[in-house]
Symmetry: C2
Amino acid sequence: MSTLAITDRTRITRLRDRQVPDRRALHDVLDSALVAHVGVVRDGTAVVLPMGCARDGDGLLLHGSSGGGLLRAAATGAEITATVTVLDGLVYARTVFDSSMNYRSAMVVGVAQVLEDDAKVAGLRVLSEHLMPGRWDEVRPPTPRELAATLVLRLPLDEASVKVRSGAPSDDAEEPRDVWAGVVPLAVAVGAPLTGPDVPAAVEVPASVRALHRTLPGS
Amino acid sequence: MSTLAITDRTRITRLRDRQVPDRRALHDVLDSALVAHVGVVRDGTAVVLPMGCARDGDGLLLHGSSGGGLLRAAATGAEITATVTVLDGLVYARTVFDSSMNYRSAMVVGVAQVLEDDAKVAGLRVLSEHLMPGRWDEVRPPTPRELAATLVLRLPLDEASVKVRSGAPSDDAEEPRDVWAGVVPLAVAVGAPLTGPDVPAAVEVPASVRALHRTLPGS
């Protein structure tokens, strides 16, 4: 097990027993999420926006339009925070107070690197394979114009915290035993594909989409 | 797992991204989310953490332990940002570049008010009814000690942005028509309840939990 360094910024002050200082746990959370909430300080305000994400080794890849303000700031060396949360269940304790959620959450802080050239294409492929597994090989590769319109960032996983709650409710033994307690699991449901209106009837749903329920992170 | 029905929003109806400047859309997004990602600037860093949330009129309620650092900062007048994102689908275009997600996202910025006394209990009830509909009346009310250990904040919805992408992929008409394009809807799936290990066999799953698949936000 490789241990994550806990810094002042990533130390969890509340419910410290839920902090998991383990790199495998960090990878697990990041691999289970489709979207990160990315924060950057702009004019004194913490701007927080969702972005598609994917882990690549010890980095978290983020991408978006090269016209996006937050991403441009991140690309020019601004410190960013990427937080990912996976909801695993609603925890019904015998009291509202002890009720909770089961979740896995990770916060990564750092300065991201802009990927260029081959590394950029490789990063886009990792993102695509995470968000839409198998799709990359079903469509044509990106053109130079498309690549120029896209920013791909890699945030190193050097400074990160992971917080996890799992398992049954933990309420006081003095609470009445005739009140039900338990967990209702939550997950991502993948619906049946909706073919676009301009797709000829002869074009079949591709293998990547048919396999999606088996491969989607969090499912 | 019981898969939740596709709503009008996840059905393909529209063709392009757009910012939605209307309050009803803001309410819709907030009412569809269980968790907000809350950002606050601490020592120059945008700290971003997940928190259970619920809309109450023109405010967004957030709650947590009175020992939590971010919430304490918010309670003492620090500006906070609460961002909520609901993923409605994966958008498979004919190219990776035009592929996207259908989502509804809202960002609210402001200074939150700390709720006290009756307003605090009322706020906790709104949060509970949003996150675990029907549960409040099945369990005892919070004690003074429990209330003291909890912070409830109300962030006014005065400054907020909403961004929505919905509908079919929008790719270039020059892309080959023999490549499939469409949308795969995503939703929250509610699993079968898992009764806690210390619950006597005679205690039945309560009405709130049995009704959950019909009432969970995002369903």
